[in-house]
Symmetry: C2
Subunit: 193 residues, 2 copies
């Protein structure tokens, strides 16, 4: 865990995912851990903060989440585009060394020692599953409450993203398809009316 | 409807929202029409394409959608940041002239004449509600199938976003909070592995 990681108040945590970044979803159970890519993660509520994430039935990460009811949603940065694509296209079920091959480094957060956090991301959201069997079975759609949030203070400070002044390597990724990502771009501020 | 608007094959339509843009949601019923901003719109499935969108109970747009079961999700562009913020912060219930004040221009798409489309956007998704009363009531979460898709061919061509070579004014918006948006940024392409 690096010196720049700072807790984000839960009531501001929706701002971490509001701009639609691609995420990495990680979970652990019984000594096993996995990380997958999820472009379909989205805010759902402000207070308590909730989010949705779509987790395909073929993923090992989903099995770990269904077992433990806890997971991490984190925002990979520009230098992690290849890592993100790799963990999104390879399954732990077929490739036990997947995380090592992808270059995933795991760390732990105080108070959340059961959860695997991916180093090098811009922000992290610890999530508690709200079981909704119909959504999970019919749509692969998972709903969770955000129970912890952190960000790299070089790019998210005082409740605001500071992409304009931060190192471009700290920008979030936004996935399209077939290995094509976009980094988040220029800031636009409009008047409150 | 301008000359650049071209249909997008439904199987490629998930790519329009995959990078997490802020959206405008529009609907009409009984001669009334409304447009709201929704940052929480997200892909849900590829085939048939589905998406989720969070619609607050206080919005008139939600009432129109619940009545008709059809709506449009569209992607506003950089010059529409102020418009997006305005329709997101004012309710038709309080302000009957809201769309006019915001500068919203409505057009219609052949075969979808019942739906109001917002001019000047980068892409449009015509949606058919899949009724899920528990999600709608408990979470303000709406699930829909995408039944029509179009994009401005100056920025989305042959199934791909072309933000790098297109006019920056055609970039999508990604909302944070308090009038702060980001435009989508630079392209990053990684190797398929």
């Amino acid at each position: 865990m690096n010196q720049y990681i700072q807790a984000v108040p839960l009531e501001k945590s929706y701002r971490l995912v509001n701009h639609g970044p691609t995420t990495l979803v990680s979970a652990a159970s019984g000594g096993e851990q996995d990380v997958m890519a999820a472009a379909w993660a989205c805010g759902l509520d402000f207070s308590p903060p909730k989010l949705t994430v779509v987790l395909d039935k073929s993923t090992r990460t989903r099995e770990l989440i269904e077992r433990e009811g806890r997971f991490v949603v984190q925002l990979p940065t520009v230098p992690q585009a290849q890592l993100t694509h790799y963990v999104g296209n390879h399954s732990l079920n077929d490739e036990p060394g997947k995380l090592q091959t992808a270059g995933v480094e795991i760390f732990h957060m105080t108070g959340f020692e059961d959860l695997p956090f991916v180093a090098g991301c811009a922000a992290w959201l610890a999530c508690q599953l709200i079981p909704e069997p119909h959504n999970q079975t019919s749509y692969d759609l998972f709903i969770a409450e955000v129970i912890g949030a952190w960000a790299d203070s070089r790019v998210f400070r005082s409740g605001h993203w500071e992409f304009a002044s931060a190192d471009p390597a700290l920008r979030t990724l936004h996935y399209i398809a077939g290995g094509q990502f976009y980094a988040i771009g220029d800031e636009i501020v409009v008047n409150e009316q």
